[in-house]
C-alpha cells in the first residue's frame, strides 16, 4: 500500500557567520521574520536518521546570479542522504532545472516563474518529465475569505485563484502540487484544511500541503480531513523536542498508512 508522506522542509538563507557567508537553516513566520537555526546539511542528516520520507530544500536568497549556495548544500546533502529531495528557489528556466537535478535534486519546485511564464511548466515537464516538476503555490486568504496566489516570496499579490491555478498546473504537466498557506506559515495553529481539500479534489496528481503544523494531530488532520498525500513542515521540527519519529507514530495510531522503518 502506498504510504502518506511526511516531509521536513528546510529553508536556507546565505548569511554572514563569523565573517564568512554560509548557508544557514532558518524558519519564517508568515514569510516574514527569519529565525536562524543552524547548518542545513547537519539538520538534513538528522532527518535522514529519523527516516523522513523526503525533504524539501528552499533557498530564500537564490537568484539567477546566486545559485552557488543552494548547489553546494544539495551536493553535500546528496552524499549523505538517500531519500528524495525537492529543491527550489529562484528557478526560472529549464537550464536551472538541469543544474539542480544534475547536482542531486530529484524534483524542482517552481513558483514565481511559473506564474509569470506558465509555459515553463510545459517546457520543464516535456524536457525532463512531469515527475520532477513541482508547482509550488503560496497563497493568502483575504478578509472576504477569497484565496489568492502570492509570488516573490510572499511579497507580491496576484489575482490568480489557487485552486484553478493548481488544475492549470496539472494540465500543463506539473507532477505534484506544493501548497503553502502564508497566513499559517510558522504560526503552529494547524494546516489550511479547507483549501487543501479543494485542491486535492480538483487535481489528480499528488498534493503536498504545508504551513501551520504545531501539533502531531495537525499532520493527521492534513491527511484525513485535507486529503493530502503529503504534509510538509519546517518550524515544527526545528523547535521543541518534536521529531519525525514521534509524529510518525501519531499518524500510524490514527490508522493512516505511513512508513515506520528505513
Amino acid at each position: 500500500m502506498i504510504k502518506r508522506r511526511l516531509i521536513p522542509k528546510l529553508q536556507i538563507r546565505t548569511l554572514n557567520v563569523s565573517g564568512s557567508l554560509r548557508p544557514v537553516l532558518v524558519t519564517t513566520n508568515q514569510f516574514g521574520k527569519h529565525i536562524e537555526i543552524g547548518d542545513p546539511v547537519s539538520q538534513a542528516r538528522i532527518y535522514e536518521a529519523q527516516a523522513a520520507d523526503e525533504l524539501i530544500i528552499l533557498d530564500l536568497d537564490a537568484t539567477e546570479n546566486n545559485r552557488g549556495t543552494l548547489v553546494s548544500v544539495i551536493r553535500k546533502a546528496a552524499e549523505v542522504i538517500f531519500m528524495p529531495f525537492t529543491v527550489g528557489g529562484g528557478v526560472r528556466t529549464v537550464e536551472d532545472f538541469v543544474i539542480l537535478l544534475s547536482n542531486g535534486a530529484d524534483k524542482v519546485s517552481i513558483n514565481t516563474a511559473a506564474v509569470e511564464r506558465p509555459d515553463l511548466i510545459n517546457e520543464a515537464s516535456a524536457a525532463l518529465g512531469s515527475q520532477c516538476v513541482v508547482l509550488s503555490i503560496d497563497y493568502r486568504r483575504d478578509e472576504k475569505n477569497r484565496y489568492y496566489v502570492w509570488i516573490k516570496g510572499g511579497k507580491t499579490p496576484t489575482d490568480i485563484e489557487p485552486v484553478s491555478w493548481a488544475a492549470e498546473g496539472e494540465r500543463r504537466g506539473a507532477g505534484e502540487i506544493l501548497l503553502t498557506s502564508i497566513d499559517r506559515d510558522g504560526m503552529r495553529s494547524g494546516l489550511d484544511l479547507e483549501l487543501t481539500r479543494r485542491v486535492v479534489d480538483s487535481v489528480s496528481i499528488p498534493v503536498i500541503t504545508s504551513g501551520g503544523c504545531g501539533l502531531a494531530s495537525h499532520f493527521v488532520e492534513g491527511y484525513l480531513l485535507g486529503g493530502a498525500d503529503a504534509v510538509s513542515a519546517g518550524t515544527y521540527f526545528c523547535f521543541k523536542d518534536e521529531n519525525t519519529m514521534q509524529v510518525r507514530s501519531h499518524i500510524k495510531n490514527a490508522g493512516i498508512p505511513i512508513r515506520l522503518h528505513r
Binding site: K3, D53, F82, S130, Q131, I205, D229, H261
Partner: protein
C-alpha cells in the same frame, strides 16, 4: 568497477553516491567505449521513454550494452526508466520500441481505486519472491521509493521478482539471466535501497 551509464538522463550523482555507499567502485560512463572497462553496469533513468531510447541509440549505447550484457555476460541493473527501456515496447506518449530484453509492454498506471493518484509518488511496500537474490536480508514487505506514471507489464510471470500494490499489482522488480531491474529507486530508498544495491554487487549470475 561499476559503470553507470550516462546518456544524458537520470540522477547520476545520487546513483553514484549510493553505489559507493553500497561498497562499489562507481564510474560514470559517458561513452560506449567506457563500458568495456567495467565489470558491472547500472542503467539509471528518469524522464520520458522516447527520449531515453533515442539518447541511448544516438550515443551508441544500444550496441555497447548488447555486447556487454549478451556477449560478455556482465550483470546489469536498470532503475526506473532504465528498467522500462529494457521492455519490448512502450506506450508512453505514442508507441516506441525498447531494447526488447523483456517480453513486456510499458503501460500507464490505471489504479482501480480512484483516490490513488498518477504518478505514484512515494513509499510503497513490495512483496518479493522468496528466491530473489535482490531482496536477500530484507524483512517482509519492505518499503521502497517509487515515482512513475507507467509500469512494465510482463508477459512472462517468471521474470517478475517483486510487485507492489497500487490499485492492482504493479511490477516492482524483474530479472532474468544476468539482467535485473527495479521500478523503485534503490538510491532513494535509504537502508533497504542500499542493501538492494549491495545484493546486486555481490551477485554472480
Amino acid at each position: 568497477m561499476v559503470g553507470i551509464v550516462d546518456y544524458g538522463m537520470g540522477n547520476l550523482l545520487s546513483v553514484y553516491n549510493a553505489v559507493e555507499t553500497a561498497g562499489g567502485n562507481a564510474k560514470i560512463c559517458s561513452t560506449p567505449q567506457e563500458l568495456a572497462r567495467v565489470s558491472r553496469i547500472v542503467l539509471p533513468g528518469v524522464g520520458a521513454f522516447r527520449d531515453c531510447i533515442k539518447n541511448l541509440t544516438d550515443k551508441g549505447f544500444v550496441d555497447a550494452l548488447d555486447e556487454a550484457v549478451f556477449h560478455e555476460g556482465k550483470p546489469i541493473f536498470g532503475i526506473c526508466l532504465g528498467m522500462q527501456v529494457m521492455a519490448h515496447r512502450s506506450f508512453e506518449g505514442g508507441e516506441y520500441q525498447g531494447l526488447g530484453w523483456f517480453e513486456a509492454d510499458v503501460v500507464r498506471l490505471k489504479p482501480d481505486d480512484p483516490s490513488l493518484r498518477v504518478p505514484q509518488i512515494g513509499w510503497n511496500n513490495v512483496g518479493y519472491r522468496p528466491d530473489s537474490f535482490l531482496f536477500a536480508g530484507h524483512p517482509e514487505n519492505p518499503d521502497f521509493y517509487f515515482v512513475h506514471s507507467y509500469y512494465m507489464k510482463c508477459d512472462q510471470k517468471d521474470d517478475i521478482h517483486a510487485t507492489c500494490d497500487y490499485g492492482g499489482a504493479v511490477t516492482a522488480a524483474v530479472g532474468k539471466n544476468n539482467i535485473v531491474a527495479t521500478q523503485f529507486h534503490p538510491e532513494k530508498s535509504q537502508d533497504y535501497g542500499v542493501q538492494v544495491l549491495q545484493n546486486f554487487l555481490k551477485w554472480r549470475p
